[in-house]
């Protein structure tokens, strides 16, 4: 396997609930190498989104260890985790979550500005990314002026803005019709082919089938792993 981006060992997340603690993720051991394309499937409530949130450092594990891009994230302070998310991770959400008061261009520029990238460089990068997702012509449109598929493409461009080592997508086609979902899946494939490690949580077997490595979760555990773990790399988006 290539250099590991994600190294989880005994990863567990327990949520305190009124009726008693509920383990959403239990004792997960997982390694994802640089350049891999991974999908995580499973029924609702099986813990796949929670696992993605743990890997994405927006949730802290109850037990176990987790290293992202070589860093032990369990010991990181909140500001350090934020910095890690900003510079090394990219998020794509089911509901896009674009900032409604900003244009497509501004949404893509926002994480770059936060990372301190100079204005000229981020303008260039933004145009490149919007062209990559096929929305260069819609750069000055606000989210309310875009279709669902277009919003998700802008969200993908935003997730790639700071050249993340790992792109995490949580049900990226969940809000889209089948045809548009297929376009988004194709776009994520392109992102992967250009060198970004991609992890996608999905219900959709068609999306899952596109990945070289397919994980299946049930009751908070990874039950089976299918496919080839070898990375497929090309350029570098």
């Amino acid at each position: 396997m290539s250099r590991p981006i994600v190294e989880a060992s005994g990863l567990t997340k327990v949520f305190p609930m009124p009726a008693g603690p509920v383990a959403a993720v239990t004792d997960v051991d997982l390694t994802i190498g640089e350049g891999e394309s991974v999908t995580i499937q499973g029924p609702s409530g099986c813990g796949k989104s929670t696992l993605l949130h743990l890997i994405g450092c927006v949730e802290r594990a109850s037990h176990g260890s987790l290293r992202i891009d070589g860093r032990d994230v369990s010991s990181l302070r909140d500001a350090e985790r934020s910095r890690l998310r900003l510079t090394r991770l990219g998020f794509v959400f089911q509901r896009f979550f674009l900032l409604p008061m900003l244009t497509a261009r501004e949404n893509v520029e926002l994480p770059q500005a936060e990372a301190g990238i100079p204005r000229g460089e981020r303008r260039e990068r933004t145009i490149e990314l919007l062209s990559f997702v096929g929305l260069a012509e819609r750069a000055e449109h606000r989210p309310s002026q875009l279709s669902g598929g277009e919003m998700q493409r802008v969200a993908i461009a935003r997730a790639l803005a700071n050249r993340p080592a790992l792109l995490l997508a949580d049900e990226p086609t969940g809000e889209l019709d089948e045809a548009t979902g297929a376009q988004i899946a194709e776009l994520l494939d392109r992102v992967h082919r250009e060198g970004t490690t991609v992890v996608v949580v999905t219900h959709d077997p068609a999306i899952a089938a596109r990945a070289r490595r397919r994980l299946s979760m049930r009751s908070g555990r990874i039950e089976e792993s299918a496919g080839d773990a070898r990375p497929e790399r090309a350029g570098g988006r």
Binding site: S49, T50, H53, G56, V58, E59, D78, A79, S82, R83, L84, R85, L86, T87, L89, F91, F93, Q94, R95, F97, L99, P100, M101, L102, E106, E109, L110, P111, A113, E114, A115, R158, N162, D170, E171, G174
Partner: protein, 400 residues
């Protein structure tokens, strides 16, 4: 994009709501500004009136407000002693009473009559004619009247005026003949008040008490280069039985007594206004945060640290409070002018006295109070945003 720019875009995204918020804060801010103008306005205005007399020390026989207590006896002796003090420049005695003037065609007119010692220039300014003179060759006594007396009785400088004094609420006959030397504006005049001033000697004659060596008040001016307190101390040391007040001390007493009602009212209303401003801003920001949980969680997931989210909300608060607060100043000033006019129309209020007086200090206090309120009001929404669980919020937004 800076936190300020992001906050601005957030506000302009819902212009109607933001405009209503700014107007609401402007309304509350205008009231706050007015209460600050009122809190010291009366004292400042009264101080300006006191200063305009040119005398900075008032001497009375008791601790009562000048004019409210018994008269000073043996005034000649007191004046003689005070004149020897190197700390004092000019000294003059005054008496306050009432007189009845015979007005052609309109019957008798009761007016406030003052007597002032030789050379004294009290709190009035001549607008027509000459200052108070001496007894004329024709035996007419000198008098300066205000415009109301002049218009009501129909007098001009040089005219004669028949005037009788009141002594212990009894008319002192017979009336004396006065010569109107000038028409003046008296700073302590109430609206439409009838006022006249004559010499101390003429005052005594008018009241039928030419030999009474009395005064209700002695005014003194501190010599240039000396502090008023030094002169007050010198007077008290020389004549311990007298009560000498500097203008500041008199104002301090008024602040604690007569003017304290306005101070208390302004304090209570300032507190209430600040509380409403706090509630308004806190509610607006809390609602704003609640409506933007997904947005905030997204920013956090993208890697924006807590301090950036906090800064965004503080900027949003600053923009709302700043815009509303600035708008409040002209609105508050116009409201203050109107309220001032209403309060000044009350009976027994000197015409030149104002209740709402602008001072730079009030502006600074306003800025500090509204700024602190804005920050305090932002604390709860900031806490909500800073503690927002990212993953759970994103999950809830998807499920919701």
């Amino acid at each position: 994009m800076t936190s300020l720019a992001l906050a601005w875009r957030g506000m302009t995204r819902q212009p109607a709501r933001s405009a209503l918020a700014v107007v609401g804060i402007a309304a509350v801010g205008a009231l706050l500004f007015d209460m600050l103008l009122l809190s010291r306005g009366l004292v400042v205005s009264f101080g300006e009136i006191l200063e305009s007399s040119g005398y900075d020390i008032r001497v009375t026989p008791t601790a009562a407000i000048p004019g409210a207590g018994p008269p000073l006896e043996n005034v000649s002796s007191i004046l003689s002693d005070l004149e020897r003090l190197p700390e004092l420049d000019e000294i003059v005695a005054m008496r306050f009473g009432r007189g009845v003037a015979r007005a052609d065609g309109s019957g008798d007119v009761v007016l406030s009559l003052m007597g002032i010692g030789p050379g004294g220039a009290g709190s009035w300014s001549i607008v027509e004619g000459e200052p108070l003179g001496t007894v004329g060759e024709d035996g007419r006594l000198p008098i300066v009247i205000n415009r109301s007396v002049a218009e009501l009785v129909g007098l001009e400088p040089g005219d004669s005026l028949e005037l009788a004094g009141y002594r212990r609420d009894t008319l002192a006959p017979p009336p004396k003949t006065f010569r109107v030397d000038g028409i003046a504006e008296f700073v302590f005049d109430r609206w439409n008040e009838l006022t006249a001033v004559t010499s101390l000697a003429a005052y005594g004659e008018t009241l039928g008490e030419p030999d009474h060596d009395q005064a209700d008040l002695i005014l003194a001016e501190t010599r240039d280069g000396l502090a008023t307190d030094e002169a007050v101390t010198a007077i008290t040391r020389l004549r311990p039985e007298l009560h000498a007040f500097s203008n500041e001390a008199l104002l301090a007493r008024l602040r604690q007594t007569d003017f304290s009602y306005f101070r208390q009212i302004s304090f209570a209303l300032t507190t209430i206004t600040l509380f409403f401003a706090f509630l308004l801003v806190a509610t607006l920001l809390t609602v704003s945060v609640n409506q933007r949980f997904a947005e905030i969680a997204t920013l956090r997931a993208l890697g924006f640290p807590r301090r950036r989210v906090v800064a965004g909300l503080l900027w949003e608060s600053a923009l709302l409070v700043g815009s509303g607060g600035l708008l409040a100043l002209p609105a508050g000033w116009l409201l203050a002018l109107r309220l001032d006019a209403i309060l000044r129309a009350m009976p027994d209020i000197p015409e030149r006295l104002h209740f709402f007086v602008f001072q730079p200090r009030a502006l600074v206090e306003y800025a500090v109070l509204i700024g602190v309120t804005g920050v305090l009001a932002a604390l709860y929404p900031v806490y909500l945003a800073a503690r927002l669980p990212i993953a759970r919020t994103l999950r809830n937004e998807v499920v919701g």
